[in-house]
Structures are given as C-alpha cells and as structure tokens.
C-alpha cells in the first residue's frame, strides 16, 4: 500500500488537540526556529540536496534540509503537525554537508554572523516529537536500554553493555583510574571494536602520555541528544562530568569524533564551570606525537589505502589535515587521497543512529561510499577515524574486496603493536 500517515485519517486539518504542554512546546520551537527556517524557505537555493547522503539515495524531497525548514513554516501556518513530519526527520545523519553548502552560511554568514543550523533544527524537531509522544520504535528502545545500562546497546538488544563492563577492552593494559588525563572510549569502540581503544591506549603510552580511564564511563549522551531523548542525554553528561571531577581529571582525550563534538557542543550549557576541562581529539594528539618524534612508526604497512573523512571531523569541525599527516607518516603505505571537499558528499550513513531506525538506508549510503573507494586505482584498504562508520563500511567493503581499518589500528601496527 502507498504510504499513509495517521494524519491522513484526520478530518479536521493539521491541528491535533494535543496537551497544553505539547502545544506550548510546538510554539516554543516555532518561536526559536522561525527565522532560521524562513532563511532557508525564502532562499530556496537547494544547494544542499546533492551533497546530502540521504537525499542522494532516497531522492525524496521530504528528506531535504529544504523540507526540514519548510515544515517549521508550515507548522506555524497550521498546515502540518509534528505527527505529520516526525518520521521524515529520521532521514538525516547530521553529517553537516548541507550547512557547508548553504549559500546563507557560505556567502553572507560572516557579515551577518549567521549560520544555517540545519542539524540543530533536526535535533529540535526530534526532541519535540519525543516530547509529544511520537516515538520511533527502535530509537525509543535504544534510548531506554542506554538509560538502563549506561551505554548504548551496540551489541544487540539483549547483550548488556553496562557501565561496569565498559573497561573490558583495556584488560591487560594496566591503565589506572582517573588522573589528570583520561581516555574516553565511546560505546561502539569500547564494546564492538575494542581494537581501536587498545590501539590508542598503547600509542599514548608509547608516546609518553600519562592517562587513566574513568571510574565508570557512561555514554557521552550524543545519540540521545541526536534522537530527541534530551533528558537521558543530560543525565549521561552530568554523570560523566561528576566522574571526571571525582578523579580531578582536567583533560579528556576522545578517540571518537562523535564523543568529541557532543562534549564540546552540548556539555558547556549544562555546567558553568565546564571550562576547567580540556577536550582533545586523539587524532590531533597522535599526529602531534608523531610530528614531535615521540611516537616512532617503523614497521612498514604494505597496503594501498584511501582515507574516509568522518563527517563530524571533516564537515562539522574542519579536521582533515591531521589524519592525512598521520597516514603519510606510516612507512610502506601507499596513500591514494580524495580531497576533503569532494568528501563533503560522502558519508557512511551511520551518523545520528540512522542505522538503528533505517538499516537499509545506512547500508546503501555505505555501499556507495565503498564503491567510490573501489574506483580508486589499487586501493585495498579504506581507513576511517570514526568507529561508528567502520561497522557499516566494513560490511559493505566485503563485497568490494576492500578492508576497513581504523586509523589508530594502522598506526599501532606501524608502531609495532599487536592489536
């Protein structure tokens, strides 16, 4: 059957009775986002579309930043309700490509101190949906389990990822608890791809960086913010900051770009003293240690690799030099680079838990990304710097005959470690 929504059945237009609280939340969202939405609505350029990883697959105008903003205008005019559009907003990996290509940001952003904040609009709409009781089945379940276990259910619905198992990856490495610097290993890496945190830990130790692990690490909260479960996100963040303070930690090294961006973008608003923490990307730190000669890469890695720019590093934070610097420092490696601007339109499809709700869409986005790698001469390996991207890319790489590694796994190999 053709798609129909509950709203089709309604006879009285878009306005549901709703609770007073929900109506207030809708009004608050419109108040906050009206101008931003109208900036997109009225510009109508749509430069965002062909770089959007989701739009490239679905070709559905409901999944465009244009629609994400126009819906706010339509809601203000009483044409659409949150029930009408909530499912549309699932179709976003929060990669940031649309914001980079938006003429409103590109051409006049500096002058007016304006940036088209599409990702924030999507977050706000997802939060409004949750607040209004409009849930996506798997996201809801994911949030409930994250809340229950402290970490995301990355091993499936039944395999517990509790906070007391989050350090299991570090077995045998003798890493202390706490200290001035700690290594924050995200849920996916800690539970699903432990070779990543093990690599980082060994590299930091070899480079002379003293660091510990958290007493009890919880999820950074990012996916909760991204899917609209804001209360859970706050609880995660509060817990983590409290844990850091208990061990007098001042510096947090993030090996996962998702953790990094969540902490620097969302935590400060929750804590007036957040400035006492320094948040560091492992990829920057490792590049620095290699540059300073404190980390020696002497074991040749005989692979022909291309690099996948993780969206949160490249598109959202402008970090694309350090990973390339690292790859060029690995002996024996043949590096076939694709520039970071071309990669604005690439994505793994894993971001903002798209794969939890729409696994087939994540798989297709990953398949296309790996096909791009497959077009490059002689490439047998794709290197990423984001654990979340590596699972879907690895799955799709099998069909292409291309292996997928995390950048730290390769560096660890070049430094002579078993990972």
């Amino acid at each position: 059957m053709a798609e129909t929504t509950a709203s089709d059945q309604r006879t009285n237009g878009a306005q549901t009775a709703g609770t007073q609280e929900t109506n207030g939340a809708v009004q608050a969202l419109i108040e906050e986002w009206r101008d931003v939405a109208y900036n997109c609505f009225s510009s109508g350029h749509k430069f965002c579309r062909e770089v959007c990883p989701v739009m490239q697959v679905t070709r559905d105008e409901r999944h465009t930043p244009t629609a994400f903003h126009a819906n706010v205008v339509a809601m203000e005019k009483g044409h659409l309700s949150i029930e009408d559009v909530a499912e549309d907003y699932v179709h976003c990996t929060m990669c940031g490509a649309c914001e980079l290509r938006c003429p409103n940001s590109l051409f006049t952003g500096d002058f007016y101190r304006f940036r088209q904040r599409t990702i924030d609009v999507v977050k706000a709409m997802r939060a409004l949906a949750v607040q209004s009781g409009v849930h996506q089945k798997n996201w809801k379940r994911w949030a409930e389990l994250t809340n229950r276990w402290g970490n995301e259910p990355v091993l499936g619905w039944t395999k517990e990822t509790s906070a007391n198992k989050v350090r299991a990856w570090a077995v045998g490495l003798n890493i202390p608890t706490g200290g001035e610097t700690i290594l924050f290993a995200d849920c996916e890496a800690a539970f699903y791809r432990p070779s990543v945190p093990r690599s980082v830990a060994q590299l930091l130790t070899a480079a002379g960086v003293k660091f510990g692990l958290m007493n009890q690490q919880w999820c950074c909260g990012g996916p909760m913010w991204e899917t609209g479960y804001v209360d859970i996100a706050h609880a995660m963040a509060e817990h983590n900051m409290l844990d850091w303070r208990k061990t007098n930690t001042k510096r947090i090294v993030c090996l996962d770009p998702h953790d990094y961006i969540t902490i620097v973008e969302n935590y400060p608003a929750l804590d007036p003293n957040f400035d006492e923490f320094e948040i560091v990307l492992a990829v920057d730190l490792i590049a620095e240690k290699i540059r300073e000669g404190k980390l020696k890469l002497t074991t040749p890695v005989r692979r022909t690799v291309t690099y996948h720019d993780p969206c949160r590093l490249n598109k959202r934070m402008g970090v694309w030099k350090a990973p390339r610097e690292i790859l060029r420092a690995i002996p024996g490696l043949t590096f076939v680079d694709v520039d970071h601007v071309t990669q604005w339109s690439y994505c793994s499809g894993a971001g903002s838990n798209l794969g939890v709700e729409k696994p087939e869409l994540t798989a297709e986005i990953s398949r296309r990304r790996m096909a791009k790698a497959g077009e490059l001469d002689g490439v047998d390996t794709l290197v990423s710097a984001c654990p979340w991207s590596e699972r879907p890319l690895t799955e799709q790489g099998e069909a292409q005959g291309i292996e997928v590694f995390d950048i730290f796994e390769l560096v660890a190999e070049a430094a002579g470690f078993e990972v």
């Binding site: 053709a2 709203s7 900036n39 350029h45 062909e50 105008e61 005019k77």
Partner: protein, 501 residues
C-alpha cells in the same frame, strides 16, 4: 485544508504501477511538493498541494501513470529539481505530481559520438563529477547548477552562464525521450538517431518540447553533448563610472568576436549599491565605482590566453578599471547565486528583513537595455513605496545568444520579497507589477522570459500578446496532444485551448 481526495482505487492503481515505496499521499509529502523558489503565495499554500506524489523509475511507469490520469481525468504535474524561478512545477489544480528524481542514472557514455545519455533526474554537478574522469564536461551552467536537474532544464529551456561559448540547454540536449500527454513514448531530436545534431527531416520537434513547463508531457531520458573539459578559464571584472559607460563596453566585449568568450555580465548601479550593503568584495570599492562588468573566456589554454588579452584590452580601452585577480577569480567562481541571500533584504528604514530572492528575467535587445532598466526600477520603486516588504536588488544583464552573444541579453531585476507578509492585497500588487515588467519587455521588442518561462501569474496574461498568432498555434498543439487536458492543466493559459471547443 485536507488534501484533495483522489477517486477510490486510484492510489491502489498508482501503487500497482510504481510500487508501494514510490507512492505518497501523506501531508508532508504533498506540502513539500507544492512550491518552488518562484514567488509563492504562502498564505494560500494548500491551494497548490498535489493529491498524490509518485516517484517512478522508468518511462514505462511514467507512461502508465499518465494513461491512468487520462482514464480518470486527473491532472498530472511533472517535477524535477523544483528549483525553477517560474512555477512550472507548482500544481494549479492538485492532481498527481510525477517526481522524476529517482531517474538519475547515467545510462550510456558514448565516446565515439561524444554523447552521454542520462535519466532526467540527474543534476549537472553530479554528472560532471563522473564526466571529469573522462576529460569531459556537460557545460549547462545555470545559477542552480548544484541542484537543478536535466529534466527541468528541458522543461524550462534553460540558459547557461557560459552559453556564449558552449550553448544553452536547447543547444546541449541532442535528443530526448518523452512520454506524451496520452502516454505514448516517443523520441524527439532534430531528426534521425539519438545522437544526430543536425537534421532537416520533418518538423523540428525538439524545440517544441523545450520549455513547455510540463504542459506537453514528461521527459524520461536525454542524450547530451559532451564537451572537452576546458584547459583554462579566465575571468575578469571591470568597473565603470556610470551604467551607460558600462553598457557601451558590454556591447563592445560581446561583439569582439573572441571565440573563447563564455559570457559577459553587466551589473547596474542599483546592483552595485545593493552589493555595497554587505558584500565584502564591494564594500571597499571607491564610490566612483558605479557599474561593473564581469566576463570570462573558456577553452584551450593557448586560445584563452590570446582571447583574454584582447578582452582585457577592450575592457580598458572602454574606460574600465580591472578590479583585480581576487574579485575576478573569486566572484566568478562563486557566481552561482553569490548575490542573493535572504539577509540582504532591507525595509525602507534600513532594517534587515529576511526576503526571498525573486529574479524576474526577460530577453531584451541590446539597444533597449537602458530604457528597460529605468522602467523596471520605477515599477520596483512603486511596489516598495506601497508595501514595505519589497526591495529592489538591482539589475543584471547577461549575454543571451549561444555562440553569437551580441544580440539580446538575459536581463533580470532581482526583487526581494518578505514573503511571510503576503496577504491578498500585496499578492495582487505583485502580480500587477509582474505584468507591468513583462509589458515593458514586450514593448521594447523583447520577450517576457529568456530562461525561466513565462507562466507565472501576471506575466502569463501577456503571453498571447507576445506570441500573437503563435499562441493560437500553441493552443492547437496543446489540444491535439493532450485531448483530456491532464498535463499541468491551466498552466500557460492553456486552459483556454479547451474553452473554445
């Protein structure tokens, strides 16, 4: 406010044709396919929503949908990128929107004939990302280059920024497959096979189906020209002390006979004043800069080198001052809508107001440009005086002829509109102004539109005036090809074709 109900069973039939994943009737699906960037009556949004949306994946599916629409008498509106500046893709009578975005494959790259055959849903930038690997470019380069789609380019008969060198859409599309309003699938070109560029067999049907704004069918495949990727691009900006000086220099550059000349763009005094509001490239320019010309040469490096020298010589000899490499290269590179974002809008007392950019285009003969410019600004000023929601963003004139760019100019006045302020009175005033802009164009020997199409409210009233007996032929053709009036009905006043029966 509810969507217009389709007859019982129609959605099931559409689903049987296109598959369950490609038929939509939900509210967000239809509300988000009601408008394009052309002025849109936000206060009357629901009048323009379709009843259903389909995303077909083959010509056969499109054909079946069109046949179904004929059986049930349901309007069909084709939709490609929906980036058009006239409103061809905006439904006037609800119906089924046939959204061709999923038909975006590269079907055949023919190195021998130097053509590429594509689905109509492909975007030029994405196409060129693939063609680049082979040393080709498909040089259809509108302001909407990063987002418009080949099907829409045919539906509007688009114009390209570098058309003076490489031609416009009609010159670059060699042939295409059309689903006619009755569902038959035909191939139209100049004649002969899909890759024949010049034929004199029969009527030249390709041109009939260029710019029809969805009233004569739906393009389902197109065979396009491949051009050797240019080795060099040289752009140059010159400033002048008055519009008239710049206008004279524009003519000299366009008539230079330089084969690599890709285009000349004339910025008038209001445009420069507008850019000085907030554009980092223009704020520092001395007050003596009143008008600007941009032009560019594309092609083989050795040819561009000598061509550019000649253009620079003409620019300087005509009193122009070269604005420097930074503006010349940077501004040309970002020409794709560099000059129109909502924050540029100003109320009469100078406050920033978020305005939509509305580019009113016409084809104007070179000698008439100064007179048209004055009359157009007067129309915009009058609107602004009466409603503090319109803003005059100045006029551009671009060389309009393919390969021989000296005749008429794509002339556009950019008008900012604070669309959230629309009400029936301001909308009516806008429609009147639109009609007056069109009247001026026709009175000066021009055409209502050089590239967007002339079917918007207001201007469309004058299409019969512009085309004269040609409009009667249009109606005859429309009635013959679309006997049940299902293809984008009422667009282009073609509902009249059926009233006379």
């Amino acid at each position: 406010m509810a969507t217009v109900a389709l007859l019982d069973g129609v959605v099931d039939e559409l689903t049987a044709i296109c598959g369950p994943d490609h038929v939509f009737t939900g509210r967000s699906a239809v509300f988000n396919r009601a408008r394009v960037p052309a002025p849109f009556p936000v206060h009357r949004w629901e009048e323009h929503i379709p009843s259903a949306v389909v995303l077909p994946t083959s010509a056969e599916q499109v054909s079946e949908v069109v046949k179904l629409a004929n059986r049930h008498g349901i309007p069909v509106v084709p939709r490609a990128g929906a980036t058009g500046l006239t409103d061809g893709a905006v439904p006037l009578r609800h119906g089924i929107v046939v959204d061709i975005k999923l038909m975006n494959q590269i079907l055949e790259l023919d190195h021998e004939n130097r053509t590429v055959t594509v689905g109509p849903g492909i975007n030029m930038l994405k196409l060129n990302e693939e063609l680049r690997k082979h040393g080709y470019i498909y040089p259809d380069d509108p302001a909407s280059y990063p987002c418009s789609l080949v099907g829409g380019r045919i539906g509007t008969s688009g114009w390209s920024l570098i058309g003076a060198r490489y031609g416009h859409t009609r010159d670059l599309v060699i042939s295409f497959e059309m689903v006619l309003p009755t569902g038959e699938i035909i191939r139209v070109g100049d004649g002969g096979g899909p890759t024949v560029r010049k034929s004199s067999s029969g009527y030249q049907l390709k041109h009939l189906f260029m710019g029809h704004q969805g009233t004569l069918g739906i393009v389902t495949e197109a065979t396009l020209e491949l051009v050797k990727r240019p080795e060099a691009e040289f752009s140059m900006f010159f400033s002048y002390g008055s519009y008239m000086d710049a206008w004279r220099a524009t003519g000299e550059l366009a008539r230079s006979g330089v084969a690599t000349l890709a285009g000349v763009v004339l910025f008038d005094e209001e445009k420069i004043r507008y850019l000085r509001r907030d554009d980092e490239a223009y704020i520092p320019q001395p007050e003596s800069v009143k008008a600007v010309i941009a032009c560019a040469a594309y092609g083989n490096a050795d040819e561009v080198r000598v061509g550019a020298k000649r253009l620079l010589r003409i620019g300087k000899a005509s009193g122009g001052a070269y604005l420097g490499d930074e503006i010349s290269q940077g501004d040309w590179a970002s020409r794709h809508d560099r000059y129109a974002t909502p924050q540029h809008g100003r109320t009469r007392d100078g406050q920033v107001a978020l305005m939509s950019w509305h580019c009113e285009d016409a084809a104007i003969p070179y000698p008439q440009l100064p007179a048209v410019r004055e009359k157009w600004h007067a129309i915009a000023d009058s609107l602004r005086e009466r409603f503090d929601m319109f803003d005059d963003w100045g006029i551009f004139a671009y060389t309009n002829g393919a390969f021989k760019p000296w005749g008429d100019y794509l002339t556009e006045i950019d008008i900012g509109i604070w669309e959230m302020k629309w009400d029936d009175e301001s909308w009516a005033a806008w429609v009147d102004a639109k009609r007056e802009l069109a009247r001026v164009s026709i009175e000066h020997g021009g055409s209502i539109s050089a590239c967007h199409g002339a079917c918007r409210a207001g201007e469309v009233d004058l299409v019969p005036t512009e085309l004269g007996g040609g409009f009667e032929v249009m109606k005859t053709i429309k009635r013959a090809l679309d006997p049940n009036n299902i293809m984008n009905p009422s667009k282009y006043l073609l509902g009249q074709a059926y009233e006379e029966e």
